[in-house]
Amino acid sequence: MAQTSHGVGGVGYDAKKRAWPAEINVFLALVILVVVFELIGRIFLGDSFLFNTRSDVSAIFNEARLQIIILQVSIVGIIAIGVTQVIITGGIDLSSGSIVGATAMIAMSFAQVATVNGNPNPKAMFLAQGWTDLPVIVPVLVAIGCGLFAGLVNGALIAYTRIPPFIATLGMMVTARGIAKWWSKGQPISFPTESFAGIGKGLMPVIIFLSLAVLFQLIMTYTRYGKHCYAIGSNEDAARMSGIKIANHKILVYVIAGVLAALAAVVLSSKNLTAQSGMGVMYELDAIAMAVIGGVSLSGGRGSIVGTVIGSLIFGVIISGFTFLRLDAYYQEMVKGVIIVGAVVLDQWRQRLRAMRA
């Protein structure tokens, strides 16, 4: 008996019961969506969604469109990477959009030039102090500091007062938006240094988004931190009994989410060459939607950064597809809403089906 192997033959074993990664389903959804837009385009507009149709350009794909698809979701995508980790741990972060606003304002005021066209910068926050033309590392570090602080407050509130993450981050959402408005009394902050403006130039947001996605996908898969995220999200009591320090871990997760939101703020304000107090409104919901569409379970324990990246691409394809079909932006929002709910419903069905088969 002792020499029996652990191999095939356990109770009620069925080889077909192997887990089918949720990411594949999401990827299929993305492919189907692209095919639908391609077909509608060919039939009704006589134009291709995905492929190059211009004779003066030698390329297989419509590269401009592909770039736009991913560029327009990169900044929210950076936030979604952090939000994904929060949701996997069983929490939620509603504050990321406001953290973007507040961080953009504060960081931008340390990234301004002294003179514009020979005149003193009219928007400079710290002209009198001489804090202008600072090296690019200063505003970036200030931004990271802001995100770190906001995440620390979120995490500490959730871990030590045990209030629901929904409430804690709702508070931060309102407060951070207030800070964003108060910082310059509602005035936009503009004229960044050239080096700061370089962060969000061209395809830089895409590169930053994808590098961070790869980094965190590896962290979630191969490190203790990632393992504990899934463990806490899937059974917090079991995690506690196993000796995982839940409070510390939660604080770390929210700090990472805060810092990622802050990095998104740097990229966004750099790309727009200005910071405004209304920046990032609704980004938190878009980020959550990307994660949910990407197969991250709102009840925690399931999902991946890869899924969220595919979810963000679905977002990008919808926006580009509607523009391509020359449909109003109003329809985009309506369809986005339907897709978010649809993704969750589908996931629930899939889970129930699986539970029935198990």
């Binding site: 203790r224 931190y225 999200g233 899937s234 000796g243 699986r354």
Partner: protein
């Protein structure tokens, strides 16, 4: 004293005026499998909770592995070598088997604080070894616990206790929620543990199981130990009379 793994003296737990456990004197020797029986509310689980420090005892002393111990919590008890299979399984549904076995004590390749790189290969190997040692059959180690049957889950929970060179395993009704076939599987694992000489405390309501698997039976009634009998000196009817109170008084072993 040398071959005694666990010893309690006058172990007592009161919740306000309720005397859940009163003056329990208990001994467990190396390689011994002891069953704890008793009616609901007799103090079986309370007894275990004091040993594993899930609760702090009101009075009494505990010796474990030759030393007097005062565990601050279940994690301290586990680190000392007491592994418990809880009634409600402490498994993370969305993690696979190796991750659950090593939950909270992952083996790492490089230590980078929370971002330490996991030694997945080692954990997989160790998991396979533990499953072989306990004769647990799990079809696919990469499957998440969510996709497993109740019996398989229980087997994983038990294999976990056997992975970490534990000095004492405590199981609180490991087969209460299982079907016939799954119960047989868990019982086989317990026999394997016996063959390996691992000491075990088994809380069970199942008389056949207790007589099959254990060397000695300790009966709790109303918070007190009322019987401590070797398997060959007793039978089912005798045990039932102690459980129900038809027979009273502490029946001591003529050791």
């Amino acid at each position: 004293m040398a071959d005694i793994v666990l010893k309690t003296e006058n172990l007592t737990k009161r919740y306000g005026g309720v005397h859940a456990l009163e003056g329990a004197n208990f001994e467990l020797r190396k390689g011994e499998h002891v069953a704890i029986m008793g009616d609901n509310g007799a103090g079986k689980s309370t007894f275990v909770r004091q040993i594993t420090a899930v609760e702090q005892r009101t009075d009494g002393k505990i010796w474990f592995d030759g030393k007097e111990v005062n565990f601050t919590g279940p994690i301290a008890a586990r680190e000392a070598g007491i592994e418990t299979v809880f009634q409600n399984l402490a498994l993370a549904d969305d993690l696979d088997v190796p991750s659950n076995l090593f939950l909270g004590r992952e083996k790492v390749l490089f230590n980078l604080g929370p971002f330490s790189i996991l030694d997945r290969k080692y954990m997989r190997k160790a998991t396979e070894a533990a499953l072989v040692r306990t004769a647990v059959k799990i079809p696919n180690l990469s499957n998440t616990i969510r996709h497993m049957s109740g019996g398989q889950r229980q087997c994983v929970a038990i294999a976990r206790t056997a992975t970490f060179a534990s000095k004492l395993i405590i199981m609180d009704e490991p087969t209460a929620a299982l079907g016939v076939q799954e119960t047989a599987q868990v019982e086989n694992i317990i026999r394997t543990l016996k063959d390996n000489g691992e000491p075990l405390i088994l809380i069970s309501h199942n008389m056949r199981q207790v007589f099959d698997l254990c060397d000695r039976i300790v009966v709790f009634r109303r918070g007190r130990i009322v019987a401590n009998l070797r398997k060959q000196d007793t039978d089912g009817n005798d045990i039932v009379s102690y459980i129900t109170g038809a027979k009273t008084g502490e029946a001591e072993l003529a050791a």
